[in-house]
């Protein structure tokens, strides 16, 4: 028998403000008079969602902001009730929906442990037994008798997480809580989650934007999109599909984003375009295939000793490559007029994803910068990659041996 059953759950929220008393009275009158009601627009946060979870499963829920992930968890934790459908949960639930929800700033850390424990339904006896363990895990021995209002935000979250994970429940509901504290503490939280999952065989529902976490911890993933289940099953497949969706979304978003350029005005960048190995103009590039990048420039003043440079960077401006024309291209003089420079890339090593291009030109003996721009053109790399190189930016030409 599944430990969690979600049957055709729909949750509607009304948009806008709560209706005024006047409107409620007016509606009551209309109802009695049999006239149509004045209704506000509905918003479906969950739309006919059905699934079931067996004991011991670790299920990741992913999706864009507003896809309904947190709404779903709230329903499973019995905080909200569905508009339609029903949810059956067979077992006790530990909701880590937001750690530190019940942490009170006026109380000391120790007092908060007892208060939060009571809120989470942990019997006082058990808290007393586990008190030392909780304090030790939170790394707050020194501050445990200080009011929480004097804690840093990281310390507060550490405390909350330590209390919440000491609860012994059949089902853990985790919403983005692993991203707490500094890196060392995150590591510790992650390890504790793994212990709970792998050794104690708990049923866990995990919501995270950290897809890698989902891939690593879960044995099933559910992709939500606008309140519907878009895809469900093997976490690898679901996460890949989510990545693809994301990339597309990023591309449409940043196509309109402003590019950053500086220049002396002696030169203008007209266009950047790509061509594939057959010489055909293309919009997206193929992984591990030859391609060419074409830079069309307009020289307004004749230039001497010109050097070009270009590089790929990730959408968050992480520089991945740089390639200068020095020693490959000797241009002593670049006359007035339009020119096209081409850079041929052999077997493009970038893994599928969204990238961007930066481009710069220097001139003269002193190599002064005449033009420089970042995020000049966003492009997508597509293609199938072998299972050996899942994550990162580049494929390594490497082989295992024994």
């Amino acid at each position: 028998m599944p430990i969690i059953e979600v049957n055709h759950v729909t949750k509607e929220y009304q948009l806008g403000h709560i209706t005024s008393l006047k409107e409620n009275v007016a509606n009551a009158y209309r109802r009695m008079a049999g006239k149509p009601l004045h209704k506000r627009d509905d918003f479906k946060a969950l739309d006919d969602v059905s699934f079931s979870i067996e004991q011991g499963e670790v299920v990741g829920i992913i999706g864009h902001n507003g896809a309904g992930k947190s709404t779903l968890l709230k329903h499973l934790a019995n905080i909200s009730k569905p508009t339609k459908g029903n949810i059956i949960v067979r077992g006790s639930v530990a909701p880590l929906i937001e750690v530190g929800a019940g942490v009170n700033p006026e109380l000391t850390g120790r007092e908060n442990i007892f208060l939060n424990g009571a809120i989470l339904g942990i019997p006082k006896k058990i808290i007393q037994q586990k008190l030392d363990e909780i304090i030790e895990f939170s790394e707050l021995e020194q501050f445990i008798d200080t009011p929480v209002k004097r804690y840093s935000s990281g310390m507060t979250v550490k405390l909350g997480f330590s209390i919440a994970t000491s609860m012994e429940a059949d089902i853990l509901i985790v919403d983005e809580v692993l991203a707490v504290g500094d890196l060392a503490f995150q590591r510790k939280c992650f390890d504790r989650m793994e212990v709970l999952i792998k050794r104690q065989g708990k049923t866990v529902l995990l919501v995270s934007h950290n897809i890698r976490q989902i891939q690593r911890l879960c044995n099933r993933a559910i992709l939500l999109d606008h309140g519907r289940i878009n895809m469900e099953g093997n976490p690898q497949a679901v996460c890949d599909s989510f990545y693809e969706q994301n990339d597309r979304k990023i591309k449409t978003n940043i196509d309109h984003a402003q590019t950053r350029t500086v220049g002396s005005g002696e030169i203008e960048l007209v266009e950047i375009y790509f061509s594939d190995h057959t010489g055909q103009m293309v919009e997206s590039l193929l992984y591990n295939q030859n391609c060419s990048i074409h830079f069309k420039i307009r020289v307004l003043q004749a230039l001497e000793e010109v050097t070009f440079g270009f590089g790929f960077h990730a959408t968050d401006f992480l520089y991945l490559t740089t390639h200068n024309s020095e020693e490959q291209l000797n241009i002593n003089c670049l006359p007035h007029g339009d020119h096209e420079i081409i850079c041929n890339v052999n077997r493009l090593p970038l893994l599928p994803g969204i990238y961007s291009i930066r481009f710069g030109i220097t001139a003269g003996q002193a190599a002064r910068t005449i033009f420089f721009g970042e995020s000049l053109k966003h492009f997508q790399v597509v293609g199938d990659i072998p299972i050996t190189i899942r994550e990162g930016f580049f494929a390594l030409d490497a082989h295992w041996m024994q």
């Binding site: 709230k74 905080i79 929906i97 929800a101 019940g102 006026e106 208060l115 424990g117």
Partner: protein, 272 residues
């Protein structure tokens, strides 16, 4: 109703922890600490005693200060429980959005918190009784029942008010006004015997008098305060004639109020 008690038992540790939190928080950085809790009835008693020296209020053989303090004791307990209870759900919005437990825990906790303050007021009443050389009679054993009844009345208002307050915050604004008006409609400043004297004995309102008296005692607090004074100070059993109209009214409304609260509870997290 049975589920209420089952929940109460199951969540007793939570109620205890939240009560303890409320008390610690309220007085943590206050030098006078929990003494503030009893300041209200004492101040009101002093004011009433002052007022009474201008306008004559017939109180019989009992000294007025102790009589009015004995009235203020259940009254302040009721008033504070009800107003705290009504705002208890909205003031715990962050918990309601994050964690599930039966929401009646909040109004009940608000009331339990007030029991602690009531306990301290009892010490002051005891001190006054020693000062006036009064001994409680065996009828004082009625006190727990009277306090329990007061709690039920306060909860009846809290459940309904707290649920409304989630949707319309007007409730927490309107309630203090309504309660301070109700104080004048309850035998706090004056004893119930005075009302009885006017309406039943003197028939001051003509043939409406008896009905008016029943209407007056429909206010549960009338019976509560009167009974409390009788068993503590007068050495008399409670006056059931003054108690039962309010009791009937409360017992009719309490289940409705509770059901209303439980039905509204489902949407608290969405609306709050």
């Amino acid at each position: 109703m049975i589920t209420v008690f089952k929940n109460l038992y199951q969540y007793r540790e939570l109620i205890a922890a939240l009560t303890w939190k409320n008390i610690v928080l309220r007085y943590k950085q206050a030098y006078l600490g929990i003494l503030w809790a009893v300041l209200k009835p004492i101040m009101l008693m002093l004011i009433f005693t002052l007022v009474r020296s201008f306008v004559g209020i017939e109180t019989g053989r009992i000294p007025y200060p102790i009589l009015t303090f004995a009235a203020l004791l259940p009254w302040v307990f009721f008033q504070e429980s009800a107003s705290e209870g009504v705002s208890s759900v909205t003031s715990n919005a962050s918990l309601i959005k994050k964690i599930y437990f039966p929401r009646e825990v909040f109004p009940i906790t608000a009331m339990v918190t007030k029991i602690v303050e009531l306990g301290i007021s009892f010490f002051i009443l005891a001190g006054m009784m020693i000062y006036y050389k009064m001994m409680p009679s065996l009828y004082a054993l009625w006190v727990p029942a009277i306090i329990l009844y007061t709690m039920i009345v306060a909860l009846t208002i809290s459940f309904f008010g707290a649920a409304i307050n989630v949707y319309y915050r007007d409730m927490s604004q309107a309630l203090p006004i309504a309660l301070s008006l109700l104080m004048y409609g309850s035998p706090v400043m004056y004893p119930l015997s005075l009302v009885y004297q006017k309406l039943i004995v003197e028939q001051a309102a003509g043939h409406w008098s008896n009905d008016l008296y029943t209407l007056y005692t429909l206010n549960p607090l009338a019976g509560i305060i009167d009974s409390f004074q009788r068993v503590m100070l007068k050495g008399l059993p409670p006056d059931f004639e003054a108690l039962y109209p309010g009791l009937v009214l409360t017992l009719v409304i309490l289940p409705l109020s509770y059901v209303f609260f439980k039905r509204a509870e489902n949407w608290f997290a969405d609306v709050i």
